[in-house]
């Protein structure tokens, strides 16, 4: 990759959010959904956005993903603005991979074609796409399912395929909107472990939205807690638990202290 130059000791900011605000206009009133978001996210960091429903965490993620243009403030990725006026900056969009709450696989494409779609859109030849899709299936643990239709896979496997698709263009930033929200608790623990492994192997920056405190503490380098109405930054908590974390880390006093603090803070919003 391009990182041949020596890294400075201080990790550079990969994403810089400045004064992000989002207003919705309904029929007669203005709703302020999000305000005063100022944050720098370091290269290679795992940031979790946590908050009650209606706190604007998904909105914030959609703004960073370029799916929504914020009504105020700016998003800067690798020192470049995400928006040039009304146009998305192509160079920035190329660095992003997005995983949604639903896998959103296209039912008319095989798993392999779904995963390689971003490559197809960039004009990568078919043989190369096949090869890369095979590698990605192995990475996310669905090897052997390349030629299947999405409907033939379980929910967890479909979400794995969606992660593979987001990774196919080797994005530097992975944005995930409650990616495991629809899965059962056991599959969810498993997916959290796998995500940690994939993140360590790929070295990309991750921003993940969740409403599960345990998931947040387990995965995050830092947890950003958002308070509702209007959504704003509440607390930013560093989780200094050694990596890679095993599922048993959840029963350590340190983990539980973070969990309790976040839960008390969340309860104070109600």
């Amino acid at each position: 990759m391009a990182e041949d130059t020596p890294q400075p000791v201080e990790k550079p900011a990969k994403i810089r959010l400045t004064d992000i605000a989002q207003r919705y206009k309904t029929r007669d009133i203005d709703v302020l959904a999000l305000t005063d978001v100022n944050l720098e996210i370091a290269q290679g960091e795992f940031l979790v956005l946590l908050g009650p429903s209606g706190c604007g965490k998904t909105t914030l993620l959609r703004i960073i993903a370029g799916l929504l243009r914020s009504t105020g403030g700016s998003v800067e990725v690798s020192g470049q603005q995400l928006w040039n006026g009304r146009e998305r900056n192509d160079a920035v969009m190329q660095e992003l991979g997005v995983v949604f709450q639903d896998a959103n696989l296209f039912p008319w494409m095989t798993i392999e074609d779904n995963i390689a779609l971003p490559l197809k859109l960039r004009g990568v030849p078919k043989a190369e796409r096949r090869r890369r899709a095979g590698e990605l299936c192995e990475l996310v643990g669905i090897k052997g399912f390349e030629k299947r239709w999405p409907r033939e896979l379980s929910g967890g496997m479909r979400q794995r395929a969606a992660i593979a698709r987001a990774l196919s263009c080797k994005p530097q930033i992975l944005l995930m909107d409650e990616p495991f929200g629809a899965l059962d608790a056991m599959t969810r623990d498993q997916m959290n472990l796998e995500l940690q492994r994939i993140w360590i192997e790929s070295g990309c920056t991750v921003i993940l939205v969740t409403h599960s405190i345990r998931e947040a503490v387990f995965l995050a380098d830092r947890v950003l807690l958002l308070s509702p109405r209007p959504g704003r930054m509440d607390t930013l908590t560093s989780i200094d638990i050694e990596r890679p974390r095993s599922i048993y880390v959840q029963s350590t006093p340190e983990f539980q202290k973070h969990e309790l603090e976040l839960r008390q803070r969340l309860d104070s919003f109600a």
Partner: protein, 256 residues
């Protein structure tokens, strides 16, 4: 279980209907000019099939139907895609489209005969015009009913409008288009036959009228049998197309 019962139940039901028909004709001594018995209709159909000129008429009707249908499919998908992609164009043309759709197309036959003559062309045009609307409206519906999440994926990949059409909107519309085509092929058959009834000297529709004018009711029933067979074959060809075009779809998945 239910699939196997259908294989037995359907032929049994058909046999029962034919039996009731036969009994009714025998018991009430219905005149063969009103309703011939099943056996007489069968004989008349076999007789028709032994005459070479019948095949000429079948060919004419088949050609008109298929040509009209193909035109309807090409133009219907083309227009549907355009209107589905460009909302302001659809809003502008919508009143016109609804008006044309409501207009009884059969009433246009005299006009088509004036414009395109008594030959096959006027029937091809009629078949195409009738079959066009369900195909177009279903294409529009299919393109507009792309899931929000699927659009988000394409947007997050920064996909061009053309790539979104090719990889998402068109495949999403295919099951809808095929439903439109299933309706369309039936309408195209009706269009060709009605066209032949009302003007012309060839095709199965003309044959039905000619046999009626000759008071040959048995032969007329034979012609109806041939028309039904033709319609059924064309319909099932289109239904089979679904398996090849959308093997991924739920409607195909259940029936291995």
């Amino acid at each position: 279980m239910s699939r196997h019962t259908a294989w037995i139940a359907t032929p049994l039901l058909l046999a029962a209907l034919v039996l009731i028909w036969d009994l009714y004709v025998r018991v009430f001594e219905v005149s063969p000019f009103i309703l011939p018995s099943p056996l007489e209709v069968w004989d008349a159909t076999v007789l028709l099939l032994s005459q070479p000129r019948t095949y000429g008429h079948i060919w004419v009707t088949l050609f008109e139907t298929v040509a009209g249908f193909i035109i309807a499919v090409v133009v219907g998908i083309g227009f549907g895609a355009l209107l589905g992609k460009i909302p302001w164009l659809e809003r502008t043309l919508n009143p016109l489209i609804v008006g044309l759709q409501v207009m009884p197309k059969v009433a246009l036959i005299p006009l088509f005969i004036v414009w395109f003559g008594f030959g096959m062309t006027s029937k091809v045009v009629l078949a195409a015009v009738i079959a066009f609307f369900p195909i177009m409206t279903n294409t529009i519906l299919g393109i507009k009913s792309v899931e929000r999440g699927h659009r988000d994926v394409m947007q997050s990949l920064n996909a061009s409008a053309w790539a979104t059409f090719r990889d998402v909107e068109l495949p999403n519309a295919l099951p809808f288009i095929l439903t439109g085509m299933e309706v369309g092929i039936v309408l195209a058959t009706i269009g060709a036959i009605v066209g032949e009834y009302l003007g012309g000297s060839q095709g199965l529709g003309y044959m039905a009228v000619a046999t009626l004018n000759a008071f040959d009711v048995k032969a007329m029933f034979g012609v109806i049998m041939l028309l039904t067979a033709l319609g059924l074959i064309l319909y099932f060809l289109v239904v089979m197309l679904r398996r090849y075009v959308t093997p991924w779809h739920e409607s195909v998945a259940g029936q291995h």
